[in-house]
Assembly symmetry: C2
Homo-oligomer: 220 residues x 2
DNA sequence: AGGTCATATGACCTGCGGGTCACATTATAG
DNA sequence: CTATAATGTGACCCGCAGGTCATATGACCT
């Protein structure tokens, strides 16, 4: 957690600093991010940095908090999906809305995912909390789906969660890797071809998951 | 490519150095690997290192080559799968055999995948060749499956390849992440529960893919 | 034997990293 | 207007990184 000194700062200054941090982490990841550069790009003195944060990890964790908050606001602002959607439609809505958020704040998404996906080995312990949140949400979702009869009750919930997590990670990675090479990321993301690819990916997951566990266990 | 000087070295010495490199990359990834440590751990002088390799990336690429070669030998030694297997059975065999290789050389797999999965953003250009090889193999596989009538001809080959790639990445990540926390990785990997989880993951993919493209395109 | 060429060595260079600290500046209170 | 507490600052410390280079070693040839 940032020190009180940072929280006392005027919002404008805090934003300047966090923007520099986002830029840095998006560009270099966590391990190779340089506090010196963050300091230089946000126009504050080195000493001030250490009066605001414990260390590099501290800024990063705070950045995650800020992003999470922004994303939650974004989701709330969007018209919530009609309540008679089934679970898979809901998941699809979530993935797509998440992507839209990514369009609005590409560097944030890049900064967060780069580290979450790529440097999980090291920082696993610190990031566990974040993964846990997602996992919890997905678990609730699956259980809900089972209650509604959309998914066979014999399905292994934990496994289904893992699959959904993997799938949304795969899509994010895809968007990040492909999108990064495009001149116009936004245009590329909104193009029918990209949208179609993502749709297809989601349908493959859906059809895989709809099969009951008993079916795919007894097959070999 | 390593310099001639390195290739002239007695095999024993070359192995010592490569082992140190594997250890280093497995532990620290590419970006944070230290040539100084590699040098210290392989008992050679700093200067020698630069007489063998251009730089850090050079050792790493060479390491990939060595691993690839070892893995190919491993696959050859295993009894090849019966020729009347269908494509999905073959893919399953490949994934499992790959895992077995990982059991035999855990640090190598860790060193390679850590970087391939985690630091792809930076080194994308250098690693593209390796990804391309896998992609090519999978493409051939899918096309073969279509010819054999195991997969609907209307399936988007490129997409199917991406899905298979994602899936085997997901499994590797799973094994790496979970396995790393276990006291006895080998025991964990061989346990029925782990094997079952992997089986289920593969079946989910299979059922997802068996659906024809037309089906899942027209759904929404 | 001397000469030559590939190989081996580690002290040394420069640059940048994270982090500290004595001091300067500004806000707050009495 | 002064005393005190809170913030701000950048030169400075140490460690380690990647990389170089003059010199030492020794195998092989004539």
């Amino acid at each position: 957690m940032p020190k009180q000194t940072f929280l006392n700062l005027p919002e404008e200054k805090r934003e300047t600093i966090m923007n520099a941090a986002v830029e840095e982490f998006a560009e270099y990841g966590l391990e190779n991010a340089s506090t010196n550069r963050i300091v230089k790009n946000s126009g504050i003195a080195k000493g001030s940095f250490y009066q605001y944060f414990e260390d590099k990890l501290d800024v990063f964790m705070h950045m995650l908090d800020v992003i999470e908050q922004k994303e939650m606001e974004y989701f709330k602002d969007k018209h919530p999906p009609s309540s008679n959607m089934d679970t898979f439609q809901y998941f699809r809505w979530m993935v797509k809305t998440g992507m839209e958020f990514g369009l609005a704040h590409p560097r944030m998404i890049q900064a967060a995912w780069r580290v979450l996906l790529g440097e999980g080995f090291y920082y696993g312990k610190n990031l566990a909390e974040y993964r846990q949140k997602t996992k919890q949400a997905l678990t609730t979702m699956i259980q809900h789906a089972i209650e509604r009869g959309e998914v066979d009750p014999s399905v292994d919930v934990e496994l289904a969660v893992m699959i959904m997590e993997t799938w949304s990670n795969a899509i994010t990675t895809y968007v990040l890797n492909e999108g990064i090479q495009q001149k116009n990321v936004l245009k590329w993301m909104r193009s029918p071809k990209t949208q179609e690819t993502i749709d297809k990916l989601l349908y493959v997951m859906e059809y895989g998951l709809r099969k009951t566990e008993s079916e795919f266990v007894s097959k070999p």
